[in-house]
């Protein structure tokens, strides 16, 4: 097991190296000049050139890359070109809202989606099944910002149950956090619930056709035990997998939701950085999100052993 973990982590290295090279090149080939952004509207070409030089942007590409990787190896993600803040500090400030809301969303989604999916599979081809499936296809079909607006309009403006926007740290006030996080979480969860519910249903359907489910029934085991103890656990691996790959969807949802609900998270940080060509921030953020994605999927891989004793590493 430990050996496997080490091997998996080693296998992550080439992936992250490719991500790093890719991102670096992508950005350097992008038109856009952070110096122009810093200097503002009335700067002259000569001023621009001087700023560019002081930012190290006039070095040849490979020199910039080596410098960056060297610093990276020492845990130095660089300094934002635009705000002159260390990138680690920016991440430190911004990552918590995203992580908290992301985690809450995943929890919420799993809690809603898995029972829904089980229900749909159990009541296969009944109206319950069709209702769940319709909902889950619908969840895929409406742009996330539209869902966000609808929720705001309904719950915050018309009903006035919840605040419209913003973020409160749970360390400040748990209630404040929840009341502000619930709408973004629901918005994000729509698509995630759809994804997980449909995967739960599909893999459960598959499992319900298996011989051992028939065996369990032949033993006279109660239906809910058949569903949850026998079927669901066997269906868990594909469900976990979809939670892992769906994580990518979550990230894109986060980027949008953070704008709609004005949450100071890393999604917005990254989009702003891309639009401002804040290279060190973009690089760090894409590396970070990729690393999180890889890490989450590693955890999910490892979690398979919990569900399936046949999987040995």
């Amino acid at each position: 097991m430990l050996g496997y973990v080490i091997r998996r982590i080693l296998a992550v290295i080439p992936v992250m190296v490719i991500v790093a090279i890719f991102v670096f090149l992508l950005l350097r080939l992008t038109p856009g000049d952070p110096a122009a952004i810093i200097a503002g509207d009335s700067a002259t070409p000569a001023q621009l050139e001087r700023i560019r030089e002081s930012l190290g942007l006039s070095e040849p590409l490979h020199v910039q890359f080596v410098t960056w990787v060297g610093n990276l190896a020492q845990g130095d993600l660089g300094t934002s070109i635009i705000s002159s803040q260390p990138v680690t500090r920016l991440i430190g400030q911004r990552i918590w809202p995203t992580l908290q809301i992301g985690t809450l969303t995943i929890l919420l989604s799993v809690l809603i989606a898995v029972p829904l999916g089980v229900l749909a599979a159990w009541r296969h081809r009944t109206w319950i099944d069709y209702a769940v499936m319709t909902f889950s296809v619908l969840g895929f079909s409406i742009p996330v910002f539209v869902i966000g607006y609808l929720f705001i309009k309904l719950f915050a403006i018309d009903l006035r149950w919840l605040p419209v926007q913003g973020y409160t740290s749970p360390s400040e006030s748990v209630q404040g956090f929840l009341s502000r996080a619930i709408l973004p979480c629901l918005t994000l969860a729509t698509i995630y619930v759809a994804l997980i519910a449909r995967m739960t249903r599909a893999s459960l359907l598959e499992v319900l056709g298996e011989d051992y489910v028939r065996t369990a029934r032949a033993k006279g085991v109660k239906e809910h035990i058949v569903l949850f103890r026998h079927a669901l656990r066997n269906a868990a691996v594909p469900i976990m997998t979809i939670i892992g790959t769906g994580f990518a969807l979550l990230i894109s949802g986060v980027v949008v939701t953070e704008s709609v609900f004005n949450i100071p998270g890393i999604g917005r940080l990254t989009v702003d950085a891309i639009l401002a060509r804040d290279y060190p921030v973009i690089q760090a953020m894409i590396l970070l999100t990729s690393a999180i994605y890889v890490f989450v999927n590693l955890l999910i891989d490892l979690s398979y052993t919990l569900f399936d004793p046949r999987i040995r590493y």
Partner: protein, 504 residues
């Protein structure tokens, strides 16, 4: 305890990212500057220069300016403000600011003659000196400690210590998201009542938090539901929502507003040809641009004055077609006469700046109607600012025309208006080579008295529109909205948070 502190939460027009108020012209950074820094002198409502940190005196011959710091000035780190700090700050500012550069071109010496006195000696008289030093935009000379002001003018400062009425809470600063200011307890305001940027900066609240909302919709909702107190720029189309709320006040923040304009590239066809530029100007209707951009006519005005309507030098010579809705027929004729060969016009359109999305689209249509072959290229604003600096041919990553906005005071005189500059490659983007314009500018600097200046300014206006140096597209106002709990807010272009109070 923080909860009980009186806090104003304000949504500003943009996120604060750059903290060095000298290195950038960004308005949000200037506003930040006014929070934590102080200035030597400032203007009042009537654009009259008033003492702020310092009293001033001009020698008879107009060659020596003496600034005397008032008592009780202190930086946030507890150190007193000295004349040496002011000198270092002015020098750094002089390297960046175009107005400052003009002064330093004629400066003999700038020195701290004692702890409290700054003496500025010129080689030749430069009447606008006080106006430039007191200006509230784009880059005012903020005073910072000498050790910080000694940072190279091309590098951003990394320490944020001023002597202004608020302190910057660095731990709570989240670039692009929020910035927190606290009342600086040791600030000694002037005795006089506050008047625009001048007068006593009496702070009545404990904290001011600026946040950014990338989504205009969200900001409006937040204000309506009472989650924020102040919205610096409300989307005009959405005003009815705000006006419907009895708890809110909607008002124009600054009577001058902004000028929106288009600029062509003089280096490449087709706009290297004056006739074709004239045809373009003729095709355009300000009304269409402004109506699309702003919507409600209450908040925009047609204005052909390059120095902005409502300013002392305003003059609208040459702007008839612009204001009367354009003349596509005449433009077409003119184009034909110029022998336009259908060279594509590369028109840059930013997609991510709300106040700049309408102009390119409307102008593109007008140009097409007049027979231009328009190649509208969408890009984000950052690509645009990079690309407009490129002197390559339009086909190789250059451009032909783009649009931007200026706060009216920033363009209100030939001295500071960046477009009115004919020095070719050293001129502003577009790079017109126009010796005649340069001569006119020199005349303006030399002109004595307001009347003489106005006369030269009027000739500059005529020249600029004749040669189509750039195309003024009219003026629009920005509207602020605030909770009625906020009282006594000063009405002016720069939103400042002294004097304002928050009632319960």
């Amino acid at each position: 305890a923080q909860d009980e502190a009186e806090t104003i939460t304000a949504v500003m027009h943009s996120g604060l990212r750059v903290l060095d108020p000298i290195i950038t012209t960004a308005h949000i950074t200037r506003n930040h500057g006014y929070m934590i820094y102080d200035v030597l002198i400032a203007v009042n409502e009537n654009f009259e220069v008033q003492p702020q940190m310092a009293d001033f005196e001009v020698s008879e011959d107009g060659l020596t300016y003496t600034f005397t710091l008032r008592d009780g000035l202190m930086f946030h780190d507890g150190e007193p403000v000295t004349a040496a700090d002011a000198v270092a700050s002015l020098k750094r500012w002089g390297e960046r600011d175009s107005g400052g550069q003009l002064i330093f071109d004629v400066t003999a010496s700038l020195e701290a003659t004692d702890d409290k006195t700054v003496t500025w000696t010129l080689n030749e008289p430069f009447t606008p000196l006080l106006d430039i030093v007191a200006k509230q935009s784009a880059v005012p000379p903020f005073i910072m400690p000498a050790r910080i002001a000694e940072t190279s003018a091309d590098e951003a400062i990394t320490e944020y210590v001023g002597s202004g009425p608020f302190t910057f809470v660095e731990e709570e600063f989240e670039p692009g998201v929020s910035v927190t200011y606290e009342k600086f307890a040791d600030y000694v305001p002037r005795e006089e009542p506050a008047d625009w940027m001048a007068g006593g900066k009496v702070v009545n609240v404990d904290r001011v938090v600026w946040t950014t909302m990338p989504d205009a919709q969200t900001a409006i909702n937040a204000l309506v539901s009472g989650e924020i107190d102040y919205l610096e720029q409300a989307q005009i189309d959405l005003l009815p929502i705000l006006q419907a709320s009895p708890d809110l006040t909607v008002e124009v923040r600054d009577p001058l507003g902004f000028q929106t304009m288009g600029r062509m590239n003089f280096k490449y066809p087709p706009f290297d040809d004056e006739k074709i530029r004239q045809a373009a100007l003729m095709a355009i209707s300000q009304e269409n641009v402004l109506a699309t951009l702003v919507g409600n006519p209450e908040y925009y005005s047609l204005c052909g004055a390059i120095f902005g309507c409502g300013t002392p030098l305003a003059d609208e010579t040459g702007s008839d077609t612009l204001k009367s809705g354009g003349d596509a027929e005449a433009a077409r004729a003119l184009l034909e006469e110029a022998g336009y060969d259908n060279t594509p016009v590369v028109l840059m359109q930013p997609t991510d700046v709300v106040t700049l999305t309408a102009q390119p689209v409307v102008v593109a249509q007008a140009l097409r109607d007049a027979g231009f072959n328009v190649d509208m290229q969408a890009m984000d604003w950052q690509t645009l600012v990079t690309r407009r600096a490129s002197q390559s041919a339009p086909a190789d990553g250059g451009w032909n025309i783009f649009f931007t906005n200026w706060s009216v005071p920033e363009i209100s005189s030939p001295l500071i208006n960046p477009m009115v500059n004919g020095r070719g490659d050293d001129a502003w983007f577009g790079w017109p080579e126009d010796p005649a314009l340069e001569e006119l500018r020199a005349e303006f600097i030399a002109a004595d008295g307001a009347e003489a200046q106005a006369e030269v300014a009027q000739r500059i206006q005529a020249h600029v529109l004749e040669t189509v140096n750039y195309i003024p597209l009219g003026q629009y106002l920005t509207v602020q909205a605030r909770s009625n709990k906020m009282v006594d807010m000063i009405q002016q272009p720069v939103p400042v948070f002294w004097q304002v109070d928050k009632t319960e």
